[in-house]
Amino acid sequence: MGKEKQYETVIGLEVHVELATRTKIFCGCSTAFGGEPNTHTCPVCTGMPGSLPVLNEKVLEYAVSVGLATGCEITRYCKFDRKNYFYPDNPQNYQISQLYLPICRNGSVEIETKDGTKQVGIHEIHMEEDAGKLIHDEWEGCTLVDYNRSGVPLIEIVSEPDMRNAEEVIAYLEKLRLIIQYLGASDCKLQEGSMRADVNLSVREAGEAYGTRTEMKNLNSFRAITRAIAGERERQIDLLEAGEAVIQETRRWDDERGCSYAMRSKEDAQDYRYFPDPDLTPVRISEAWLAERKAALPEFQTEKKIRYREEYQIPDYDIEILTGSRQMAELFEKTTALCGEPKKVSNWLMGEAMRLLKERGLDPEDIRITPSNLAELIAMTNRREINGAAAKEVFEAMFDTDVDPARYAQEKGLLMTHDTDALTRAVKQVLKDNPKSVEDYRGGKEKAIGFLVGQTMKAMHGKADPALINGMLRELLSGEAKFDA
């Protein structure tokens, strides 16, 4: 093999995000998941003759907010266009989208790379409707259509070809996801399809013009994206090395087989015959409305991180994690406001909450604990009403069903006993039953005290304060007293 050429990968993304509106983009049907087929439908979203679309203003609100948060110019006079193509999942045989005057243009997001920060340009963001779902019934040998998803609002965020490797792509997607989640505009779950990324990739020799690109679809996880980028880069380089041309085409990634195959090439690309949808009036955005949207933008992670450093004495690592999700950050802030102990709140969230999220396979956005309950749990431990182990048990119950901690601890008998006589009796009994450990401790084996504390806790059915037991034990053991029966 001769001298290796240096190839640069050039990547741009088309990201579809399903918006978190209650109703569809052009009708009043529910966007809720999981309904029986064709139950969240009406004449509009099933393309019945004579039905007409009416824009859901919430969609515009979300799209503009995402645009503002990514530094886009907002198009003050925008229109919807029809993209015409025949397919059964598309009940009108045209999709209402935006081609000529998309709602947002010319933005960018900042990502962290190993070489520092980098700006990824956003070419445009446009609004459009999702299609229905085809269900192939192998048994009956037929295909059925479910229009529940038809008309669910999407935004498509089209980046500039500014990314050069998978790490940058993932960083860009993470950043977009965080911004959109902060806005509450979508939950952005790749696996569930509420965020979908198509990868446009080409390779070129350093310093050369852009090469021919391909578009990769069906990427359902960051892992799939990373693998597809590596695979496609390699495929294109192999073609070029063999003196062949890369064909501009759409390819489908098969994550199980770890390879892609061509879906359609540019030659048989359809002519979508885009034209402005005459059923929808142009959207005019007023200064006042735009100012309202700007005022309603939340504090994003970058600003939050700066403020956290000033306001709370917690480590940078904690700050990074806590601000990594708006729900987590809000829970932290509100709980801290109630109890005034940022470090303790952070400890609970960084420790137990993260552990449970991982264990349950949930995302930080799914956390349901209310700040008042968490503050109460912290207060209970401060008042020594509950010991650490029991507090964790209460926390877990709160995590799963947001129970009231005081009532839960009471009902489950997790509160510490304040009966000193009983405790004294238990401690004495443990010393009497464990002469070997007593001897070890007195012989200088500090560790033995732990065993004795444990035995006492067991005798108290966990409802005692281990620190208190520890003190009592040390006091009794400091003398010469014998503890035989």
């Binding site: 004449p43 099933t46 393309g47 019945m48 003759p49 004579g50 039905s51 007409l52 679309p53 009416v54 824009l55 029809r82 015409n84 025949f86 059964p88 009940p91 009108q92 045989n93 045209y94 259509v145 002519d271 015959r273 885009y274 034209f275 005459p278 059923d279 929808l280 009036t281």
Partner: protein, 487 residues
């Protein structure tokens, strides 16, 4: 008393005054249908039993004092491109031959709420594409004045039904003249309101930016009453406009003093049949005699209206008609082998010639590489035509002209030469491109005894001026010989 001698408004009053009933009126309508429908073919669907049942229910509600409007108990017909829940709605196309909607068009809902009783669905040019009602998959409708002639189109079934007395009034739709031209050919009053006045929800679209639902009636008073009922602001139609001045009957004062009426010279140039020219100018003279100021003027861009109209309407139609694909409803070709063959066969067999021609035309003008040269240019022409009308309306209250260059053509005469048929829309399409209201009122008969219609065009939202002038003319003209009496 014979209900058939009454206008819709008179009938409504007679029912209210208990001189007749909704059932008697329906009975009278069905007597005419019994006599004439077989040869006229005004309707695609008539549901006699349901019509009488609805008439009875409405009469009960009138008796209880629940329905007090002017149209309560009046039998009406509805063009077959307006969805009616539970009643077949075909657009006179094979592709929707078996389609029964799950909901009712807003304009029809308004009529029903007012107590009008739906008789059935009227024949039309397939998907409203045509000017003669001959492109219907259910056979042509004949002109009740002379059955050798067409009734015009595309709302030919509605126009003929009103003229013949197979209903008291009817709904039509007008994309390029489809109400005004057949009304003119059938000697009745037809009106296309300002775009956005009547909700299009439930109207099966042809050219969405041009389509508007309107009344076809025996006289101007009925027309005002019907428009008053069907005009509404509808949140289900984004192009619907909230209007407050919809008390159209209040405009029927008969006063025309000082009304400035412009006559575009180009509307009376070459190509206009002499009899039509004579009758329409005579009508203008009648208005002048009653105090209107009538002047000739030059309306710009008249010659570009037809190409701009056919470009825009066909473009929108090519997309609007994509949903008819054999998947969800309507006709599906029996032999199907794979999805794309099914689409092709279904649409090839389901659509008629004229519809396919316009789908091809529309697909072409929207296709990549031609979009700017055709579709965008047509949109620019549309904007310029609007400006030409704005200029005209700075000098005039109304524009007066013919509705069509000729009276009704003979059956079978038009379809061989589609371009000639398209050119017949010269006086009507510009009104749709500019979104204006227009009305046609009968103003005489030609030598063969076919009606001639005068068209009045108003500025946007000036239906009241139109109705005022039309009403004044109608009063001055006197009774117009009704073809139903000659039957």
């Amino acid at each position: 008393m014979k209900p058939m001698d009454l206008t819709a408004a008179e009938l409504g009053r007679a029912i209210k005054e208990k001189q007749t009933t909704a059932m008697e009126a329906m009975q009278a309508v069905f007597e005419v249908i019994g006599k004439r429908e077989e040869s006229l073919n005004c309707y695609v669907t008539v549901d006699r039993e349901a019509a009488f049942q609805r008439a009875e229910e409405v009469q009960k509600r009138i008796d209880r004092g629940e329905l007090t409007g002017p149209l309560a108990g009046v039998p009406v017909a509805v063009k077959d491109n307006l969805c009616t829940k539970g009643m077949r709605t075909t657009c006179s196309s094979r592709i929707l031959g078996n389609f029964v909607p799950s909901y009712t068009a807003e304009a029809v809902v308004k009529l029903e709420e007012a107590g009008a009783v739906i008789i059935g669905k009227t024949n039309m040019d397939e998907f409203a594409m045509g000017s003669t009602t001959e492109t219907s998959a259910f056979g042509p409708t004949r002109n009740p004045w002379n059955e050798a002639y067409v009734p015009g189109g595309s709302s030919g079934g509605s126009a003929a039904a009103v003229a013949a007395g197979e209903c008291f009034m009817a709904l039509g739709s007008d994309t390029g003249g489809s109400i005004r031209q057949p009304a003119s050919f059938c000697g009745i009053v037809g009106m296309k309101p300002t775009y956005g006045t009547v909700s299009r929800y439930g109207l099966i679209a042809y050219g969405s930016s041009l389509d508007q639902i309107g009344p076809l009636c025996r006289d101007v008073t009925d027309c005002a009453a019907m428009l008053e009922v069907i005009s509404s602001h509808d949140a289900k139609d984004s192009t619907s406009i909230a209007r407050e001045d919809t008390d159209f009957t209040a405009a029927l004062t008969g006063d025309t003093a000082g009304l400035r009426i412009g006559i575009p010279r180009a509307y009376f140039a070459e190509g206009l049949a002499p009899a039509v020219r004579e009758r329409v100018l005579a009508a203008a003279e009648v208005l002048r005699e009653r105090g209107a100021i009538v002047e000739e003027f030059d309306l710009d861009l008249v010659q570009y209206a037809i190409p701009a109209y056919y470009t825009i309407a066909s473009a929108e139609a090519s997309s609007n008609l994509e949903r008819f694909d054999g998947i969800k409803y309507g006709y599906r070709s029996g032999e199907t082998e794979g999805l794309h063959k099914m689409y092709k066969k279904t649409r090839s067999e389901g659509f008629g010639e004229e519809v396919k021609r316009r789908i091809m035309l529309g697909s072409f003008v929207l296709s990549s590489g031609y979009y700017d040269a055709y579709y965008l240019k047509a949109l620019r022409v549309k904007a310029l035509i609007r400006q030409a009308f704005d200029a005209a309306f700075s000098a005039f209250d109304l524009i007066l002209g013919p509705a069509a260059p000729t009276t009704a053509p003979l059956l079978g005469e038009s379809l061989q030469d589609p371009i000639k048929m398209y050119l017949g829309d010269i006086y009507t399409v510009a009104v749709n491109l500019a979104g204006l209201p227009g009305i046609t009122v009968p103003c005489g008969l030609d030598n063969t005894g076919l009606p001639v219609g005068m068209q009045l065009i108003g500025n946007c939202f000036e239906e009241k001026k139109l109705l005022r002038a039309a009403f004044a003319y109608e009063k001055a003209r006197g009774a117009f010989a009704a073809c139903r009496e000659e039957a």
